[in-house]
């Protein structure tokens, strides 16, 4: 009687809704598994896929986006035992998703409103997604640190390209599978594993990226990203890695605002 041989998972990048190898064919190893070492070309492909998904995702109703984030929370909860991180970290990540799922249809009331202008106009200001957000996730915690940056970006109606933990990329790649069964449309989330410095600078330099959220906690990389962002006036938020649910939600408004544009509309009132 031979013992059953396990079927091992081939870890892949998640770009445009597809699980793909790096176009470069390169790979690295973590926790006994090979995983793709994404290239700058993969970054460009991911941004292009994200851009394509941006308008339809933003056009969905806030209610629908909230439902999808809630569904993602459900899917993650059901995989809690297989994410390769402590159960508490998965639970915190689920709760963070839940928190931001509830933000999708409240953001307008909190950040926007009617402007009582001193002239006969209906003037109002509403938050809108800034567009394609590049996320640089911290090394640790690999799952919560990613979800803490991803959830507010999605809740505000953005699409995202995220560079995963360099030390522990597998939980982030596993998250792709949870999101993939959560009605997250193709290209709305793109997850890349590999060498952070190489990928993050390629992402930061991309001219079709609107904002960078940098939670890597690396001051040198942060300064590089600031400099790259200036080229096309990207919005940049630096933050410490979120290690608890509270870290990821206490400053929710700040996180949401960093990936939001406020649009003011003026409509005349009169005959």
């Amino acid at each position: 009687m031979s013992e059953r041989l396990a079927v091992r998972k081939t870890y892949k990048l998640w770009i445009g809704g597809a699980f793909v190898r790096s176009e470069s064919g390169r790979y690295d190893e973590a926790d006994g598994f090979n995983f793709p070492r994404a290239s700058r070309k993969d970054v460009r492909d991911a941004v292009a896929a994200a851009r394509k998904a941006a308008t339809p995702w933003a056009a969905r109703t806030a209610y629908n986006r909230g439902q999808i984030l809630y569904r993602a929370a459900e899917a993650l909860e059901s995989r809690a035992a297989t994410m390769g991180v402590p159960r508490e970290e998965v639970e915190a990540a689920v709760d963070v998703l839940l928190h931001y799922a509830g933000w999708t249809d409240k953001l307008h009331a909190v950040l926007g409103g009617v402007n009582p202008v001193a002239a006969p106009f209906l003037s109002f200001s509403l938050p809108e997604p800034t567009g394609v957000v590049g996320i640089v996730a911290p090394d640790a915690p690999p799952l919560l640190g990613l979800v803490a940056e991803l959830a507010p970006a999605l809740a505000a109606g953005n699409v995202a390209v995220a560079i995963l933990s360099e030390d522990k990329p597998l939980p982030g790649l596993d998250l792709a599978e949870a999101l993939g069964v959560s009605d997250v449309p193709q290209g709305v989330v793109n997850l890349l594993s590999g060498r952070r410095q190489e990928l993050a600078t390629a992402l930061g330099a991309h001219r079709d990226l609107n904002a960078i959220v940098d939670a890597a906690g690396d001051a040198g990389l942060g300064a590089d990203l600031d400099g790259l962002a200036a080229e096309t006036i990207k919005r940049v938020r630096h933050g410490d890695p979120a290690t608890t649910y509270e870290d990821a939600t206490d400053d929710a408004l700040h996180r949401l605002e960093a990936v939001t544009e406020l649009k003011t509309a003026w409509h005349p009132v009169g005959a």
């Binding site: 909190v110 950040l111 409103g113 402007n115 009582p116 202008v117 001193a118 002239a119 106009f121 003037s123 200001s125 809108e128 800034t130 567009g131 609107n210 001051a219 040198g220 942060g222 300064a223 590089d224 600031d226 400099g227 962002a229 200036a230 080229e231 096309t232 006036i233 919005r235 630096h238 206490d250 400053d251 408004l253 700040h254 605002e257 544009e261 406020l262 649009k263 003011t264 509309a265 003026w266 409509h267 005349p268």
Partner: protein
């Protein structure tokens, strides 16, 4: 019944110049540091010119690096007491400033017009009243910051450096100073090189309001003064309004410093006229959109997108209306289009207009008598413009409108969004549902429907994409000047 054709009558305007007799400007203005006007330590004095006459008006100090350091020191020293003041007491100073602006409104309007070249009608009816309104509005926020931010505890950032442009000198100073001070910050404001005077009058107003020394510093100067301010140690935040090129330099200079930053930069805003618009009304809006303040407006409607079916009619009406614009003496109360702000800006406009002609667009400039001295540019319309032409892509910042056309709503949206900028847009249609649909699809921070160039302290203003980040006006205008404690 017969219809009589009315002979067209040309109504001549008699000159209606605003008197400048009541203006008492000093011959020379120092740097306003620590509550007093001071001679520059390492800068110099440079005359500020009336762009309508090329005559010097007064000499103004330029701050050098040593002056910037002194300014930051004085501001840092002033900050703890200012921040510790009871919120309502801080508000009272701002209310005082608002009132003093109203009291000195006529003087401020005339000086703004002399120093910058904008028509008195605009400085009197737009710039100065809105500046007062901004101080009044943010004064009221000073003791309500928690409500404006959704936070239970907020803290000022500290010392903020603010750099403003020459197109709305006093109004931009108000946009910058009012929210910064209301939030408990102290501010160092650098007015534009060509238009320092109203900011210096505002310094006098701060003295008159008994604002504690160091709370407001006015540091006139040129680009090097601004560059020193941006890089000065002890600055917690920079707020800049101006060109995208300079904004980019500032963002790069602050890389890795954790200095807070907001940028309000350039634009190439689309003004979209649909075939179902009230066309006469639209033409008025087009004129206001591009010729207001000689087109020296970051949100100017400089890309006119007209639906093909009404293209000829709109252009005919627009051209006719442009012929009625009165170009000339900014102090004349009937003037619509005043002087170009500076020789430098005039040559920039001329260069881009020449590029437009070279690239094959058709230029029409209004034939009007322009004064012999001063900097002037006749209102200009370009047709046969392709989306790739420089005049369709680059900010001209002058009285020049580029006309492009579209067939469908989707094409209008695509063309409007085809820009690295995203500051503003206009939509002209009588169909409400269409207006809302288009407004939501445009990547622009401000969208005006059936109107253009309206501003209000309660309404957020600021851009998408390379038009900058952060908002001024409304509760959103508080956030760039605060940190949330919890």
């Amino acid at each position: 019944m017969t219809t009589e054709t009315r002979t067209s009558i040309v109504w001549d305007y008699a000159p209606a110049p605003e008197s400048a007799d009541h203006i008492r400007l000093k011959d020379r203005y120092g740097l306003f540091i620590d509550g007093d006007f001071k001679d520059p330590a390492d800068g110099g004095y440079v005359p500020t010119i009336n762009p309508a006459t090329e005559e010097p008006i007064a000499e103004v100090a330029y701050g050098g690096p040593v002056d910037v350091t002194a300014a930051v020191q004085s501001a840092r020293a002033a900050h703890p007491r200012w921040a510790a003041l009871k919120d309502l007491e801080r508000a009272k100073y701002l209310f005082r400033i608002a009132r003093l602006i109203q009291e000195r409104a006529r003087e401020l309007a005339v000086v703004e017009t002399i120093d910058g070249g904008k028509p008195l009608r605009e400085s009197r009816d737009v710039d100065v009243p809105l500046a007062a309104a901004h101080f009044f509005y943010y004064a009221g926020w000073a003791d309500k910051l928690r409500y404006g931010t959704g936070a239970s505890e907020v803290r000022p950032l500290g010392v903020v450096g603010q750099i403003v442009p020459w197109n709305f000198p006093l109004l931009m100073a108000a946009w910058k100073l009012a929210p910064a001070l209301a939030c408990g910050n102290v501010a160092i404001l650098k007015p534009a090189e060509t238009t320092p005077l109203t900011a210096l009058l505002l310094a006098e107003i701060c003295q008159e309001a008994e604002l504690p020394p160091g709370v407001v510093t006015i540091l006139p100067g040129d680009e090097s003064t601004g560059a020193s301010l941006v890089r000065a140690p002890g600055i917690d935040k920079i707020a800049f309004t101006g060109s995208t090129a300079v904004g980019r330099d500032i963002q790069a200079a602050l890389a890795g410093t954790n200095t807070h930053l907001t940028l309000e930069l350039g634009g190439k805003s689309a003004n979209i006229v649909f075939e179902d618009a009230a066309l006469d009304q639209a033409v008025e809006g087009i004129v206001n959109g591009i010729f207001f303040n000689q087109g020296h407006v970051c949100c100017a409607g400089s890309r006119l997108l007209i639906q093909e079916s009404v293209r000829d009619e709109v252009i005919a009406k627009l051209w006719q209306r442009m012929g009625r614009l009165r170009v000339g003496d900014p102090l004349d109360k009937n003037t619509d289009v005043g002087a170009i702000n500076s020789a430098e800006q005039l040559s920039r406009i001329e260069a881009l207009v020449a590029a437009g002609e070279d690239e094959g667009a058709t230029r029409r400039s209004v034939e009007c008598e322009l004064p012999a001295r001063g900097y002037w540019f006749a209102p200009t319309l370009f047709t046969d413009v392709s989306p790739a032409h420089r005049i369709a892509v680059e900010e001209i910042f002058g009285p020049v409108v580029s006309v492009l056309t579209f067939r469908t709503q989707a094409e209008a949206i695509e063309k409007a969004n085809n820009s690295r900028y995203g500051l503003a847009a206009g939509i002209w249609t009588d169909k409400g549902s269409k207006a809302f649909q288009v407004a939501s699809a445009l990547k622009a921070g401000v969208v005006w429907q059936n109107t253009y160039n309206h501003f209000d302290p309660t309404a957020a203003f600021g851009g998408y994409k390379e038009s900058g980040f952060g908002r001024e006006g409304g509760p959103a205008g508080l956030r760039p000047y605060l940190q949330v404690v919890r």
